[in-house]
Amino acid sequence: MSNSTRCAACKSLRRRCPQDCILAPYFPSNNPQRFLWVHKIFGASNITKMLQQLPVELRGQAADCMVMEAYSRVQNPVYGSVGIIHQLQQEIIEAQKEIIKIQGEIAFYSAQFQHQHLQQSQINAEQQHQDSFFSDFKS
């Protein structure tokens, strides 16, 4: 990549962007903010080191994850991505509680329904018994 089309990383670091710049594929010049986030949190040399240690086919995903973590940390300097993890864990706990509550209510309705059904069966059986008694009596 020539100087006139430096990647966002090299532009930010005010250096020449070589043809084989390791950061260029993941920090294009049209999205400078992406690099600014990771540079602020991880530092350019750390990102470069981390990406260099990975096979090429995994570097894109790694860069994207680092961008996400950096962005989270910029938004929330105290908890970063850990704040998101905590929120999701809370959502899971609430959902599980809610499901248990609803299952309890379903069990209640089901028991009520069965109780009513049983009572109705008993009423019907008594009625049949009475009908049969009276018909025997008449005959």
Partner: protein, 186 residues
Amino acid sequence: MASSSSYNSPCAACKFLRRKCMPGCIFAPYFPPEEPQKFANVHKIFGASNVTKLLNELLPHQREDAVNSLAYEAEARVRDPVYGCVGAISFLQRQVQRLQKELDAANADLIRFACNEIPTALPAPPGVSSIQPMAPRQRPVEFSRRMGNEGDAFYQPSAYSHPYILPWSDNPSGDTNDGGGEGNNM
């Protein structure tokens, strides 16, 4: 060897960096010498000067939580150099989605029981009041999947248009320049 501000051995950070641990060392309260790996991970992923800058931007009472969350993220990234703690976020998101479906199904069952399964034409047996069907249950909890949550002490609302964008969703970013994910601005 110089003592840390606590008089004892230098903090884990100064030990790692092989420098004097001065009184007032910003790392000393959060990187005790008994936990060398904690600083080693943080240093490897974020670097000492970045951590110093981050801590200096925070109020003193926020620093412990910040260091612990940085240590968590650093360890996650050491264990998983590609996804880091985003892997955990992805896993938890899938759990939330699964539970959401389960909750919807349970709600549907409840509505069915409450509105349809209780026969309203039955005579009320003596001593037992007739059952009034419950009003259809509203979705009890809105599981906001925004990164932010107003009023939550943990973090501020995010400017994400698509929260929790996972870079490896349908369009793997690979070497593309679009930052991965679906329609995100990153």
